[in-house]
């Protein structure tokens, strides 16, 4: 029984985040949640090893942001050093293929740059590993098969079985990351290795600008006559048209409500 319980190798891919208001570098929210999940996994499966991986340039700002992850209780972070504006995917894929972790956890999308959320998919395609998005929790890992809970919209969950090695991406459904402790973050080690860098030429050609507010969609009324247009403009948003059951017994009322609930399919 116990041999299955031995731990697994987990690699967490982390990025430099961006504070939504001040714009300063910080640990990215989704990546920190992913690391929190990995640390929870370490407690769940004793003997698991969590490694941190980041590809990008080394600077003062990014280093302080990366140390935010180390302050959550890790001793070292592997930094694949690349020039600014280069493509992280080949370097990460090469490193992961060599290190061969059983589970790779990433955030769903970056807070800087293009932020397209393509990185986990590109890695999965390159490495040929299965990918699960929107992870909520890891239930168990046995015999190289992980049972995961995937978060769906409206708070629903779906249970999946995935053969390891696999890549999972994390968005807002996992528990919030713990605080980062300053002292351990200072003492921990950043192991930098230089990685082959290939400039992202396409990204350099695009025009980037601070996001402007999207125009609000107007309510367009297409009516033949002026009277219809006026009626539509003057109408309250919540018009009538509902069915009103008056003077019915409680049973009849309940029957009507139950019919509607069944039609909408909200009763499980």
């Amino acid at each position: 029984m116990q041999p299955e319980q031995q731990g697994i190798e987990v690699a967490v891919l982390v990025s430099v985040g961006r504070h939504p208001i001040t714009g300063r570098a910080r640990r990215a929210d989704q990546d920190a949640r992913g690391l929190e999940l990995a640390l929870g996994l370490e407690r769940q499966l004793p003997g698991s090893r969590v490694s941190l991986l980041h590809a990008g340039p080394r600077g003062e700002e990014s280093e302080s942001a990366l140390r935010g992850y180390l302050g959550m209780g890790l001793e070292r972070l592997t930094l694949l050093e690349q020039a600014e504006g280069s493509d992280a995917i080949p370097a990460l894929a090469e490193h992961l293929a060599a290190a061969a972790p059983q589970l790779v956890i990433t955030g769903a999308r970056a807070e800087r740059g293009e932020g397209s959320g393509l990185l986990p998919y590109a890695l999965a395609e390159r490495l040929g590993w299965p990918l699960v998005n929107g992870l909520a929790a890891v239930e168990s890992i046995e015999n190289g098969v992980a049972t995961l809970l995937q978060a769906l919209p409206r708070g629903q969950r779906r249970r999946l079985k995935v053969r390891l090695p696999a890549i999972v991406s994390v968005d807002g459904a996992t528990p919030v990351a713990r605080q980062s402790a300053f002292g351990p973050a200072r003492r921990a080690e950043l192991v930098a290795t230089s990685a082959p860098a290939e400039a992202d030429r396409e990204l350099a050609e695009w025009q980037l600008a601070p996001a402007r507010k999207r125009p609000k969609r107007l309510k367009i009324i297409k009516a033949a006559s002026a009277r219809d247009r006026f009626k539509a403009a003057a109408a309250k948003a919540e018009g009538g048209g509902g069915q009103v059951l008056k003077g019915v017994s409680a049973e009849q009322g309940a029957e009507a409500i139950l019919k509607l609930l069944n039609e909408e399919g909200v009763l499980r």
């Binding site: 939504p20 699960v132 708070g155 969950r157 999946l160 696999a166 980037l208 600008a209 919540e238 009763l267």
Partner: protein
């Protein structure tokens, strides 16, 4: 029958003479529109202004110039006319294809899907000489009937069981087969957490394209390879990226206006080649029952909300448990201490997005109605038939809330029991 229209001058005279004792009966014979307007002997349209209108409920003559009141048949004809005013568009020989993969959340085209189809129509109809066709690839069972009205020319429906649930690998194999056989010029998918964002990114990597994600605007640009530029959101919604439109784009909601002036064929299509069955390393074990009390109120699907009219709070909590609904409350119920503050629905509480909102004993203050603006179906149980919540509700039951809830709980338990016996 003779084509010659026979005139009866005497009856016409009676119809014009509103003091004639037979005036009303002659008018009734001639029908509504003939009474107020007719072709005169010299070929001139004559109107009788006194025959227009109807006597209102208070005995006052009212004139409705919308044309809706002139008898039931005429109104029906007008409505039909309005439907038929949508131009029918057939594209027998499309110059190219624009493939769209709508999500069909709940089996119907969502607002996001319709916006996306509007965007696809913009791409397809840019050149009126050589129009393209919009191809929709639909997975699984659906309840949608208005595919043509949404702007779809060709419909590829893959209703196999292998595509149900979370089956990205099977769906990807099907889309790759579509790519091989039909080679659409554009691929459009919704960038939404319901599944479009995931499938679109997988497809992009499979096709070897670098997709545009979070697209919210496109404009024509002759210099771009496909003739379009797009504006996309990047870096956690803080950047606008302007770039040439790639072959595959993931678009946000409200990226274009939905189609509403034309009606398309939605002709069914099938693939010639059989889709290779994909070996799946991901097994879907189905949805998990979640504790409805733990679901955040803002994203709950089904909310049972109580207000001042609820007297039996024990019964209310029991009903929420049996129905599997998330509990909400109006401000009064929270202020009186029956519910926690984080359960308050409305302007000062949570703005909810439930599909079904069951309001028990809530009269519907404007702040509360604001909070439930985006709910699809509202059911109200209330004692007061004149309150605002009844006007908003799709189904309202006037009566004692405790008795109705108890009856509802009994019926739901009976239904579940029956299902269990059957199974």
């Amino acid at each position: 029958m003779s084509e010659i229209r026979r005139r009866d001058p005497r009856r016409e005279w009676i119809a014009r003479n509103r003091l004639h004792p037979e005036h009303a009966s002659v008018l009734a014979e001639q029908g509504g529109s003939a009474a107020s307007e007719w072709l005169g002997p010299n070929g001139v349209i004559r109107k009788n202004p006194r025959a227009i209108g109807f006597i209102g409920p208070n005995g006052i003559k009212r004139i409705d110039r919308s044309g809706a009141q002139q008898g039931g048949q005429v109104a029906g004809g007008a409505r039909q006319g309005a439907q038929d005013s949508r131009r029918r568009v057939e594209i027998p020989e499309p110059a190219f294809l624009v493939a769209v993969v709508p999500e069909l959340a709940g089996g119907r085209l969502s607002g996001h899907d319709k916006d996306l189809l509007g965007l696809a129509r913009r791409l397809a109809d840019a050149d009126s000489e050589r129009p393209g066709a919009v191809l929709a690839v639909v997975f699984g069972e659906h309840k949608e009937e208005g595919f043509g009205e949404a702007g779809i020319d060709r419909l590829l429906h893959l209703a196999d069981d292998t595509y149900a649930g979370f089956a990205p690998e099977a769906r990807l194999a099907a889309l790759a087969a579509v790519e091989r056989e039909l080679a659409p010029r554009h691929w459009l998918l919704p960038d939404s957490p319901l599944g479009g964002a995931d499938l679109g990114r997988r497809l992009a990597l499979r096709l070897g394209e670098r997709p545009a994600t979070g697209v919210w605007q496109i404009e024509a640009d002759g210099a771009a390879p496909l003739g379009w530029r797009c504006t996309a959101r990047g870096a956690a919604e803080s950047l606008d990226i302007q770039r040439p439109l790639p072959r595959l784009a993931l678009a946000l909601a409200e990226c274009a206006e939905p189609v509403d002036e034309t009606r398309h064929a939605a002709a069914p299509l099938s693939l010639a080649e059989t889709i290779p069955s994909a070996f799946s390393r991901i097994e879907d074990l189905g949805q998990v029952a979640v504790d409805p009390a733990g679901v955040a109120l803002a994203e709950a699907e089904f909310i049972l909300s109580g207000g001042n009219g609820v007297k039996d709070w024990e019964g209310f909590h029991h009903a929420a448990k049996v129905l599997g609904a998330t509990e909400g409350a109006s401000r009064v119920a929270v202020d009186d201490g029956f519910m926690a503050r984080d359960r308050q629905v409305g302007a000062t509480g949570t703005w909810v997005t439930a599909r079904v909102y069951l309001a028990v004993g809530i009269s519907g203050a404007i702040q509360h109605l604001q909070g439930i603006q985006s709910c699809d179906k509202v059911v109200a149980i209330n004692l007061d038939p004149g309150c605002d919540m009844i006007k908003r509700a799709d189904l309202a039951v006037i009566g004692d809330s405790a008795a109705i809830l108890a009856a509802l709980v009994a019926r739901v338990e009976q239904q579940r029991g029956g299902q269990r016996d059957a199974a």
